[in-house]
Structures are given as structure tokens and as C-alpha cells.
């Protein structure tokens, strides 16, 4: 089976030099390495998770994959087509039919000027897909799918009249209007209340099963990523440090950073005592200079030879990748 997404050596740098003059005269190059030479594949029907703390580059990766920002170098290949070569407006429009994004904040991304009916109909109108009658039928059909009821009450409402959970369902419905084959979900439940979070997660799982959707699922919560994803990639300072099937990542993490992420999740049972977190310190800003050698080495409890040399992401068992010398030596 061919992968639906191939990311090859993706890199995104942001120039930190503050002014044109500075960029003209200063010799020193200062970049924020938001995404630093990462590669991965996503198979059709798969949910692929990106996990990491804030600032690790997971959202930037999501945006690169969906082509809303362009990589500094590297490629994203979607269904065999290299996105960096797409220049024509019409072609971009066609791509938008197949790739959609669900954003973190349903309070911010819904227009306060459009009622729910128009919000959902908008994508169809932009793409001149259907006449008005059919549009309404389609809107109702998708609302049914995402559990937005009662329809007649919700359709004329504006986004501020809805609850957080309903808004996120509207966001999901809008992403589904054009029958995309690939969806990037960026922290879709982090703004939602605990009691409705699971409902939205279960909806996304059901949609995946029903329409064989492929998902890139971005979250900071490793417990949620296990619930949602088939495979997980853990990111640290712009790099994928570990990648593999979700159950392996959770139950047998190899990279010390993944181990710390798993240990940091509090157990919902007082009888189970949470393990001590093996790492100290905090994330250095990727804006400054990266530490020499492995970028995790300043916080690593093991760090030996890695102070000078950075390990590559190596497949040490079929389908399991890790960016660390230690598990490889065993």
C-alpha cells in the first residue's frame, strides 16, 4: 500500500534577525529551527500522532503537511504529488478538497458573522459544488454525522450561541463538508471541558472508521494520543526522537524523553504511585543555540557520548525508530 503522506527531510526555519538592516549586515545567522529535518509516512486509514511539549514543532509540522506554510527545505508528497511544486491557484483549490484541518480553538476559528448554516455551506459555495437545495441537504447530513442536534435550532444560530463542544463539532463538520481524505487535527480537545472531551474524541474515532479517514493527530497529551493513534511520533526541539506503534511507545518507550512523558502522566488511581520523572531541567528555547551533540543531552539522565555527536533516527526494530544511542547498544 502506498502512503498517503510522505514527509521527506522537512525543515522549517524562522529568521530571528530583527530587521532588514540587521539581516543585511550581520554575518551571524540566527534561526529558530521549528522543524529540523524530519521524515515520516502516513498510511491510508491511519491515525498518526505527533506528541510533544509546547514549542517542539508539532503544529508547524501539521501546517507544513497541509501546505499552509512552505518548508525551508524538504518535501511533502500527498497521494504521490509533491506539494512544493504546486503553484497554480486552481490546483491548490483542488487540494483543499482533499485535505482539511481542525483547529485547537473553536472559539477563535468560527466567524461571528456567519450563522451555522452558512458556516457549513461556505466550503461548498466556494467550490461551486452544489445548488442551494442540495447544499442544505448536505449540511443536514453532515450535522447528523457529527451529532449536532436539534438541527433546526442550531442552523440559524451564531457560533457564540453554542457551547464549546458544539462549536468543536461545527469545526469538525466544516472540515467534513468536502469529503476530504486527509485531516489534520491540531489539539482538537485541549480547549474543551473534561466532560465533553471524550465525546469529541469518540466522534473522531468513529469518523475514521466510517469514512476510512486518514488523520494527523497533534496533541501534548500522550494519554490521548494513545487513545486516538495507531502510530505515534514524539517530538523534541524540532526533531522526532522516537516513532513507532502507539502501544510500544506507551508500554516500552526507549528514548529517555518519551520515558519522562509517560512517567509524567498522573495515574487516576491512588493505589498506583506515579513513577519519578527521570529528567530534570527544562526545554531550552530553540531560538538560542542548540546544545552540541544530542539536543536532549543536557536533560538526559544517561547522556554519555552524546555530548558531542547527535544520534540519527534509526529503525532498531521493524517499525520502531529512536533517536538515541543507548537502546541501540543493547
Amino acid at each position: 500500500m502506498e502512503p498517503i503522506i510522505v514527509a521527506k527531510n522537512l525543515t522549517k526555519l524562522y529568521d530571528l534577525r530583527s530587521s532588514f538592516l540587521e539581516s543585511f549586515f550581520s554575518k551571524e545567522e540566527r534561526y529558530l529551527r521549528a522543524v529540523d529535518n524530519i521524515s515520516f509516512n502516513i498510511m491510508p486509514g491511519e491515525t498518526f500522532g505527533l506528541v510533544g511539549e509546547s514549542g517542539c514543532g508539532k503544529t508547524t509540522t501539521g501546517r507544513l503537511v497541509i501546505n499552509t506554510i512552505r518548508p525551508t527545505s524538504g518535501q511533502v508528497i500527498f497521494e504521490g504529488r509533491d506539494l512544493s511544486t504546486v503553484r497554480e491557484r486552481d490546483e491548490l483549490k483542488k487540494l483543499a478538497l482533499k485535505m482539511q484541518m481542525i483547529f485547537q480553538d473553536p472559539y477563535e476559528y468560527l466567524s461571528p458573522w456567519l450563522n451555522i448554516k452558512d458556516t457549513l455551506a461556505e466550503p461548498l459555495r466556494i467550490h461551486n459544488m452544489l445548488d442551494e437545495e442540495k447544499i442544505e441537504a448536505k449540511v443536514r447530513e453532515v450535522m447528523e454525522t457529527v451529532g449536532l442536534t436539534p438541527q433546526n435550532m442550531i442552523l440559524p444560530k451564531y457560533s457564540y450561541g453554542l457551547s464549546g463542544g458544539q462549536r468543536q463539532r461545527v469545526m469538525i463538520a466544516r472540515a467534513l463538508m468536502l469529503n476530504p481524505s486527509f485531516i489534520v487535527a491540531d489539539e482538537p480537545v485541549s480547549m474543551l471541558d473534561v466532560s465533553i472531551r471524550v465525546g469529541v474524541l469518540n466522534l473522531l474515532r468513529e469518523l475514521k472508521r466510517k469514512f476510512n479517514l486518514t488523520n494527523l493527530f497533534i496533541t501534548h497529551d500522550i494519554a490521548i494520543s494513545r487513545y486516538m493513534c495507531d502510530r505515534i511520533a514524539v517530538m523534541y526541539l524540532g526533531k522526532i526522537v522516537e516513532m513507532g506503534p502507539a502501544e510500544y511507545i506507551i508500554n516500552d518507550p526507549q528514548h529517555p524523553y518519551t520515558q519522562a512523558l509517560v512517567a509524567a502522566v498522573p495515574a487516576p488511581d491512588p493505589a498506583v504511585k506515579t513513577q519519578e520523572i527521570p529528567i530534570k531541567g527544562r526545554i531550552p528555547t530553540s531560538a538560542g543555540k542548540l546544545p552540541p551533540g544530542c539536543r536532549f543531552s543536557p536533560r538526559c539522565p544517561y547522556g554519555e557520548s552524546c555530548k558531542t555527536e547527535e544520534p540519527g533516527l534509526v529503525e532498531y526494530e521493524e517499525g520502531r525508530f529512536v533517536m538515541c544511542f543507548r537502546p541501540l547498544k543493547k
Binding site: 471541558d193 490521548i224 494513545r226 498522573p266 488511581d269
Partner: protein
């Protein structure tokens, strides 16, 4: 002995759009040296309880009824001057969103020693010495006292906030969502710190959070709120095996457990409560799987169903038996 006793507390907000009963007839007790975790979704009234205890309820809210007994003394009728002697020295609070709670124009050390100088009769030098001690206590190098808040990371700001809350040796600490907006690993470190300080300083603590797992790891007792009411309260060790209220059970089920085999989670149907128009009867009834006609009209009261296990539910006996 109980340090804090909240009796039939009602804190209401008189908004231009209508009356919001943010805290509606809540009673609970906190024993010395114990930690109580208060859980519930946003808007259930848990922060309003904290503000009521500190007498900091913002306008247009006010305590309309009830008593807050601190070591037997009612705090509700006290005037501002009397309250000032209790706040910080006796009861202190770590506020939600510590990042925004510091003044960006003053150094961290000065802000903490200001709290000491305001409340205690000490000179500047002594206050500064204690500030440095406090910073070391929460795991920050005391040279950082000379930094401005924006020079510290989120986790360090939160640690400084805790140092400030401890600056006048309070006996009761209220921590309102002390780890929201922090990264996962940092928040685990902060919770470890709070746990350690609690045993070391023999603090009584009220921990407010939406995450039941955090309470499981740090508290002795758990109280669950829904729509301004307390719906269940018991020992932390019991709540995960013996929870009775359908909302508590649903909340526990809503968190994926990373340490057990993968399971399907069940969401709670419906939408969070609109406190402006709460339903008659039990406020959870519209979302409850055990709902009976009685629940729609008749408001259940908090009853002790076993030793130190309180539940507000008409159906508790049926649930208890079928469990």
C-alpha cells in the same frame, strides 16, 4: 480537628443578565494536615468557593448566606482590616494562571518580600533573607530573586508563586489549578513539589483542579462539584472503587488510563450546565444515565451513605446495589 468548616455557603452573582448561583448551599470540612481535592468542570463553582474563603469574590458576586469557619471563627462578617490579618498569614492561595499574577515591573524577590513586609513585623533585610530561603525551598536558585517575572520560565514562575503563598507560614493553602497552562513534564514536577512541601510544612490544602488523576496522586479526600453543588465527597482511596454519583463515575471514566490496557472511553452526553437557567431538581438529571422522574423536580441533598462518604443523588441505593 477541623481547620476549615464551610457551612451552607451560597455565593451568587447578580449579573445584568440574571442571577447566577455559582455556589449553592455547599458544606464541607477540612481536617488539619489533610488535603482535599475539589474537582469539576469549568463553571461548576470550584474557583468561586476558593474566592469565597479568601473573601475575594469579585463584583457582582457576593456571599449571600452561610458560614466559613476558620479555626472556629466565622470569616464572612469580618471587615477588610480583619481579613487582611488572616489572608496570607493564615490562609494563602496560589492563583490560577500564575504567569499573569506577577507584576512585570518588579523583581520576583521584591514581590515576595513585599508580601512578608506587609504582613509581618520584620525589616527589609530579614524579609529578603526569608525570600531567598523560600526560593531555595521551591527549587529555585536564590540568585533568581533579582530576575523580573518575564525572565523566568512558566514552571519557575509557578514555583515562585508557591514560594510567595508560603511566605508568611500559612496553615491553609488553596491551590487553584496550579498546573494549567504548564507543559506536561513541568506540571508533574510542580505537583511533586506541592506534595513534598505539604508533608514537610504540615500544610492543610485545598486543591482545585479538573483532573481527577492529579487529586488521586496528591490528596486525601476528593469532593466533586456540579453546577454549584457538591455531589459527592469521600476518601480518595474509596472514590475510584466506590464512587456512587453518576457524575463522579462519568468523570473518572472520561480520563484515559495510560497504565492499563487500552479501553474505550465513555463521554458524558449533553452539554455542560447553563448556570443561568439550571434545570429544576437535580442539576445533573438532563445528562444522567440513571435519571428517574423524581430527579426532575426534587433536588437531592448531600447524605452520608457510609462513613465519611457523602452523596447527593436520589438513586444512590439502586446504584450502590447494582455496582
Amino acid at each position: 480537628m477541623s481547620v476549615l468548616k464551610v457551612q451552607n455557603l451560597k455565593t451568587h452573582f447578580f449579573t445584568p443578565f440574571g442571577l447566577v448561583k455559582a455556589v449553592d448551599d455547599v458544606s464541607f470540612e477540612m481536617k488539619k494536615g489533610k488535603a482535599l481535592g475539589l474537582a469539576g468542570e469549568s463553571g461548576c463553582g470550584k474557583t468561586t468557593i476558593a474566592y469565597s474563603i479568601m473573601s475575594l469574590v469579585p463584583n457582582p458576586g457576593r456571599i449571600v448566606e452561610g458560614k466559613i469557619l476558620y479555626n472556629g471563627r466565622d470569616l464572612v462578617p469580618l471587615n477588610e482590616e480583619e481579613l487582611r490579618r488572616i489572608r496570607w498569614k493564615e490562609i494563602s492561595m496560589v492563583f490560577q494562571g500564575a504567569m499573569a499574577s506577577f507584576n512585570p515591573l518588579f523583581k520576583i524577590g521584591d514581590q515576595i518580600s513585599e508580601a512578608i513586609l506587609t504582613h509581618e513585623k520584620v525589616n527589609k533585610k530579614e524579609a529578603m533573607r526569608r525570600t531567598n530561603e523560600l526560593l531555595e525551598l521551591v527549587g529555585i536558585d536564590s540568585v533568581r530573586a533579582n530576575n523580573y517575572p518575564w525572565e523566568l520560565s512558566g514552571g519557575m514562575k509557578q514555583r515562585s508563586m508557591i514560594a510567595m503563598a508560603l511566605s508568611c507560614n500559612p496553615s491553609l493553602l488553596i491551590a487553584d489549578e496550579p498546573t494549567t497552562a504548564l507543559d506536561v513534564i513541568v506540571s508533574a514536577q510542580i505537583m511533586d513539589l506541592i506534595k513534598e512541601l505539604r508533608t514537610r510544612l504540615d500544610l492543610t490544602m485545598l486543591l482545585i483542579t479538573h483532573d481527577i488523576s492529579v487529586i488521586a496522586q496528591t490528596c486525601d479526600e476528593l469532593a466533586v462539584m456540579y453546577g454549584g453543588k457538591l455531589v459527592e465527597k469521600t476518601d480518595v482511596s474509596k472514590i475510584f472503587t466506590d464512587s456512587v454519583h453518576p457524575y463522579t463515575t462519568a468523570l473518572i471514566k472520561a480520563f484515559p488510563n495510560i497504565r492499563s490496557p487500552k479501553q474505550d472511553l465513555e463521554g458524558i452526553p449533553g452539554n455542560p450546565l447553563d448556570l443561568m437557567n439550571p434545570p429544576a431538581g437535580c442539576r445533573f438529571a438532563p445528562r444522567c444515565p440513571h435519571v428517574q422522574p423524581r430527579c426532575m423536580g426534587d433536588d437531592p441533598v448531600l447524605t452520608e451513605i457510609a462513613a465519611n462518604h457523602y452523596v447527593a443523588c436520589h438513586q444512590w441505593e439502586e446504584i450502590y446495589e447494582t455496582r
